[in-house]
Amino acid sequence: MREVYITKEKFPDVVGKLMNQHRVFGPVFQGQYHEFAELKASDEIDLTYQNTRLSPKGLFHPHSERMFQFSLAKGDPEAGIVKEAPKDYSSRLILGMRPCDAMAFRLDDVNFDTTTIKDPWWTRRRATTAIVGLGCNQPCRSCFCTSVGTGPFDPSGLDALLTDVGDGFILQAITEKGQELLDGISDGGPVPAAATEKATQLRKSAEAQFVTQFDPKALAEKDMLELFNASFWDEVQFSCINCGTCTFLCPTCWCFDIQDEVCEDQGDRIRIWDSCMFPLFTVHGSGHNPRSQKLQRVRQRFMHKLKYYQDKYHDGVACVGCGRCVKYCPVNIDIREVARLMTATCVCPA
């Protein structure tokens, strides 16, 4: 696949031209944090960011999304019939996503895009979006991507990869979609040998900053019910306040609720992110709640990510090591610690 070199001077022009062809999204500084947003101007994008506070999952699975619409108007012959809502599926380009976040979409694909059932909104957005990643020269302290099978320059979830080599970017095509994108860029030049060398150095130094936190394979070998019944959950759940921040920020937490909203005689059926941290998530109409205890909910989150997902799909854990849940948990619950507890083999004296 082809690669080009784009100087930082020319980069805004390149972004501007891309904006003429696609809806372009990128990390934008908003308030106190970076967030993925549709670019209104080519200089809005800030590729000096470390990572966004919210994961970019909302670009494919919006926080709240209208699924259908309906009328409840008296006399309307179509009243009460739920119908598709129009949506914009024009071509999109996401610029500067971290490789871990892009990898998360591949982990989510197994849920939304199966051989038998396809989520129509997720799959169409995936098909009409190209993702250009940005390699991580300087991982954050809460990151652990290399422990979960990805890495700071992992191209697996990307169509193209940007590497910031100081004065400019190397843009490498990864997929056909990425190649097409590169073919349309006229402001790039051949990659100087010094830039290639710098990129290799940056990658090596980034990768060297990680220590292996835990081994997902060791989790795969553990017995599910043994882990489920383990005594350490009591310790893990002790400080949790079930705020749901971890699930809200996590790029691989996809659970959602479906609710109807009505205004006067028009209504929408919408889906909204939900969280296994909340007691209402599982409560039956009868009042019976299979996960009424905090311990059960905390255990569900970790078991689903680290064990159930792995046992169901046999392709690693449902975690890309972005570290958001570690960084933003108000009571400092650390998924790396939990994974270590889950893989520990020591037998404590009775």
């Binding site: 699924m67 259908f68 309906f70 409840l72 009243a79 009460g80 019939i81 739920v82 119908k83 598709e84 849920n111 939304f112 199966t114 059932i117 396809k118 989520d119 129509p120 599910m224 019910l225 489920f228 996809w254 659970c255 959602f256 609720d257 479906i258 609710q259 109807d260 009505v262 209504g267 059926r269 889906r271 939900d274 296994c276 998530f281 599982t282 409560v283 039956h284 109409g285 009868s286 019976h288 299979p290 996960r291 059960q296 569900q300 078991m303 689903h304 159930y308 046992d311 169901k312």
Partner: protein, 280 residues
């Protein structure tokens, strides 16, 4: 591409109050578009999402049998927003149905076997579907002896009373209807809890499968009886209830270990359940 979240529009043909406490009503639904009925090909044991625009959806077992053409039947217990609204709807009203969803009872495995159906309370709906399906002249010869133990707290809570009476008259199905208690001097069936009646009346476990659906307390006390009668866990089949939204294994709500109850269940054998977390 068919949108798996989009309900088929249906019209309510009739609403029948099933029980004395008026908490259970059976709605009969007709598809507005005949081609939707073609697409809705179901097998006993499956469920569907009943949709009321403006209120939402509820997952309910299908009470009709695919051998009954032209309509769908659901027996709805009045518990929440959507089910209470459905209770107050009128024939002619428009609502939606999405499905069929989930797995069915394993009819291929059940072929040539004796089958004992054990039901309690309002969980009898997919069991009604199964009985009608098996008794259909085209199907009856595929199965061995069919026995049914069906219990309710008192006679007024039994569902599908006319059909129960008709099945009582047949010689190709053994009915064991029971109530916990009754002061009706004309009550001609059993009095006693489902586990006790099962112990007396269940067929020999040899070459037999048990399908059991009911309140957790009934299941809890009936399972040891079945084990005692010699039914191995892989020949005891149950159906789980769970809070659900999408019904197609995407929204994550009904996750139980490696399974989604909506898509990988709701029908599980006791053997399968023994390998899953006990969180239902």
């Amino acid at each position: 591409m068919n949108n798996p979240y989009l309900p088929y529009p249906v019209r309510i043909e009739s609403i029948v109050t099933e029980t004395e406490d008026r908490n259970l009503r059976t709605i009969k639904l007709l598809f507005l578009n005949p081609e939707d009925e073609e697409k809705f090909k179901y097998i006993p044991g499956q469920f569907a999402e009943l949709s009321v625009a403006g209120l939402g959806e509820i997952p309910i077992g299908i009470a009709s049998s695919p051998t009954e053409k032209g309509f769908l039947k659901f027996t709805v217990n009045k518990v929440g927003k959507v089910s209470s609204h459905i209770h107050n709807m009128q024939p002619g009203d428009i609502m939606g149905v999405r499905g069929p969803l989930g797995n069915w009872y394993p009819w291929d495995l059940l072929e040539g076997k004796n089958i004992v159906i054990i039901g309690g309370g309002f969980a009898f709906t997919t069991l009604r579907s199964s009985i009608v399906y098996m008794l259909d002249p085209r199907n009856r010869s595929r199965f061995g002896e069919i026995s049914v133990v069906y219990g309710a707290r008192f006679p007024g809570l039994l569902l599908f009373k006319e059909e129960l009476a008709a099945w009582e008259q047949r010689d190709d199905i053994k009915m064991h209807i029971t109530v916990d208690s009754t002061d009706d001097p004309n009550w001609k069936y059993n009095v006693g809890f489902v586990p006790a009646v099962t112990k007396q009346k269940a067929p020999d476990s040899e070459n037999s499968y048990a399908i059991i659906c009911g309140p957790p307390i009934m299941i809890k006390f009936t399972l040891p009886v079945l084990t005692e009668l010699g039914f191995p866990p892989e020949r005891i089949i149950s159906s789980l209830e769970m809070r659900m939204k999408c019904g197609i294994g995407i929204c994550g709500r009904c996750n139980l270990g490696t399974e989604y109850v909506c898509k990988d269940g709701p029908v599980f054998t006791l053997e399968q359940l023994s390998r899953l977390p006990n969180e239902y």
